[in-house]
């Protein structure tokens, strides 16, 4: 199974409406989360290698279906949409966990984090809820019998680790090359199954409040390249960073 997020394109301008209570989606193009796209590409590679079946899943309302169809066009076999408006990562993970408990997956892949709320916790939450090992961020993944060898990024380096299936991995580059759907993929995606599951109320753990934007910069101070000493002076005495 691959869990994907439906997120604003990386070039989107971020604005809020309704007294800063709501994200303004007007004019925003939505995409598969870039990290999730790596996870999906890896799953499709593994499908080609082993004949595995790839289920792609998203938690969201009907507007996320084009994103799921794109994942089907890239190579997933079937899609599941858990119909809900989750308000925090714990709700997302709980809904996925409730669904996954009734299925049997050899591995669950997703991006290391979504690029909208950047929680970076759904893989960890899900692992604890399902009592299977979760590991992130994963840079390479190779199957070896009933287990997988992975490269995990750690601060200041990386590790080669081995984990038995089933497991959950939060993926990042260079685990696989992003795939662009071809015409045949797009045609077959239309007839692949997309099941909608009711994401009825799960417990709340937090109340989302007001959004805000960072302070804007006051404008760049340009320095003459012939007078570079001025930059050193400003960094030292005005910005006080050297």
């Amino acid at each position: 199974m691959v869990c994907i997020s439906h997120v604003p394109d990386t070039t989107s301008r971020i604005n809020f409406i309704d007294n800063n209570q709501k994200f303004d989606t007007s004019g925003v193009q939505f995409i598969i989360g870039p990290y999730d796209d790596y996870a999906l590409a890896k799953a499709v590679d593994l499908k080609e290698e082993t004949g595995a079946t790839v289920t792609v899943l998203n938690v969201g309302r009907a507007e996320t279906e084009p994103t799921l169809r794109k994942a089907l066009a890239i190579g997933a076999d079937n899609a599941v949409r858990i119909d809900a408006d989750p308000l925090d990562s714990i709700q997302v993970a709980t809904l996925i966990s409730n669904y996954a408990k009734g299925e049997s997956f050899d591995m669950i892949l997703m991006g290391r984090e979504s690029i909208d709320y950047n929680g970076g916790v759904v893989h960890g939450l899900l692992g604890e809820m399902l009592n299977i090992t979760s590991i992130s961020p994963v840079m390479t993944l190779k199957l070896n019998g009933g287990s997988a060898e992975m490269t995990r990024e750690i601060e200041g380096g990386k590790e080669q680790v081995e984990v038995a299936m089933p497991f959950i991995a939060g993926c990042q580059e260079p685990i696989a090359e992003w795939k662009i759907p071809n015409m045949r993929g797009i045609m077959t995606a239309r007839s692949k199954p997309l099941d909608v599951i009711d994401g009825s109320a799960v417990d709340m753990h937090s109340d989302a409040g007001e959004y805000s934007l960072p302070k804007t910069k006051s404008g760049v101070k340009l320095i003459d390249p012939e007078n570079i000493g001025e930059l050193v002076n400003l960094l030292k005495n005005e910005a006080k960073v050297i």
Partner: protein
């Protein structure tokens, strides 16, 4: 009441973000219990945490924690929280820290927030401000459960000494098993400044024309005691290693000083650097979008400007 802080060390040194987590906790509660797990810690370094507000430091140095099994470490932290009647866990947002935060939140049925950028507002509930949309916005979130797990973003607080060195205590967490991850090899990056922790970063892009021209970038970094970084195209072309890639899908940095050389400033790059305190942009194209996000800018050829800047900094030292 007390607060538990999970502490990470790298190369036997307590990470700066863990010190920030201790200081952050000391602003919420007077009893701050710092907990360290595994064999990567130096005991005297841990004792220094007293300076940032820790009132107790507990260390379980069992090497079963070294494999990075989140569930195992989380069980040890949850056990300490239950024994000490602590309702809040504070730690640094990091690849391991965020995963650990998630597992503890499940074990203790806690509210959870990562990338928290400021101290909580407790005037009405327990409201934290978290960074979202890769630094492009913030959201206030009220953590409503009795138990709370807060993973802070770098520079969420400006640390100042508010205590003295303390003695550390050993403990042995009662957790089952040895973990389910087998570590076969560890490959640490050479060089002593970790990019995510660096206070100064010198970064360069395609404007440098080729990997052979990175000498001056490294020299500038060495004069400034800075870490080196690069844009995505540069790491994609293998001019520089992947771990130097700063941006939306790479490392997010928040240093005091970020110098961008020959980087145009695509929005995906800005997402990785927009929490830097001071940004300097050097680019020969006066229309480069990065200038709009910069504090100081030099319009000029990097191959002329950077060597001059190195000389000027050396003269200043």
């Amino acid at each position: 009441m007390s607060i538990v802080v999970f502490v990470e060390s790298s190369d036997k040194k307590v990470k700066k973000t863990s010190m920030e987590a201790v200081f952050y906790a000391s602003k919420i509660d007077n009893n701050v219990i710092a907990v360290a797990l595994g064999s990567a810690h130096d005991e005297s370094q841990l004792g220094e945490l007293g300076k940032w507000g820790a009132t107790d430091v507990l260390l379980d140095s069992a090497n079963k924690f070294d494999s990075g099994d989140l569930s195992l470490s989380a069980s040890a932290i949850s056990e300490v929280m239950k024994t000490k009647n602590a309702k809040i866990l504070v730690l640094a947002t990091s690849p391991f820290g965020s995963g650990l935060a998630a597992c503890v939140a499940v074990q203790l049925n806690a509210s959870l927030a990562t990338n928290v950028a400021e101290l909580p507002d407790t005037s009405s509930g327990f409201v934290v401000k978290r960074s979202i949309f890769t630094g492009k916005a913030f959201q206030n979130v009220n953590l409503t459960n009795e138990n709370k797990v807060i993973a802070i973003k770098k520079n969420a607080v400006d640390v100042v000494e508010n205590g003295s060195v303390i003695n550390i205590s050993s403990f042995s967490a009662e957790v089952d098993g040895e973990g389910k991850i087998k570590v076969k090899d560890v490959d640490m990056i050479q060089g002593d400044i970790l990019l995510p922790e660096a206070e100064r970063v010198v970064s360069a892009g395609r404007g440098l024309k080729g990997p052979e021209n990175w000498g001056m970038v490294e020299e500038l970094a060495s004069v400034l005691k800075a870490a080196t970084a690069c844009s995505k195209p540069v790491s994609d072309m293998d001019w520089r290693p992947h771990h130097e890639h700063v941006g939306q899908t790479g490392i997010k940095v928040s240093p005091q000083l970020y110098i961008a050389i020959g980087i145009s400033g695509a929005i995906q790059h800005l997402a990785g650097v927009n929490s830097s305190k001071t940004i300097v942009v050097i680019n020969k194209d006066p229309e480069a979008p990065f200038f709009k996000e910069a504090d100081y800018g030099i319009v000029g050829d990097a191959f002329e400007v950077v060597p001059k800047l190195i000389e000027a900094l050396k003269a200043n030292n």
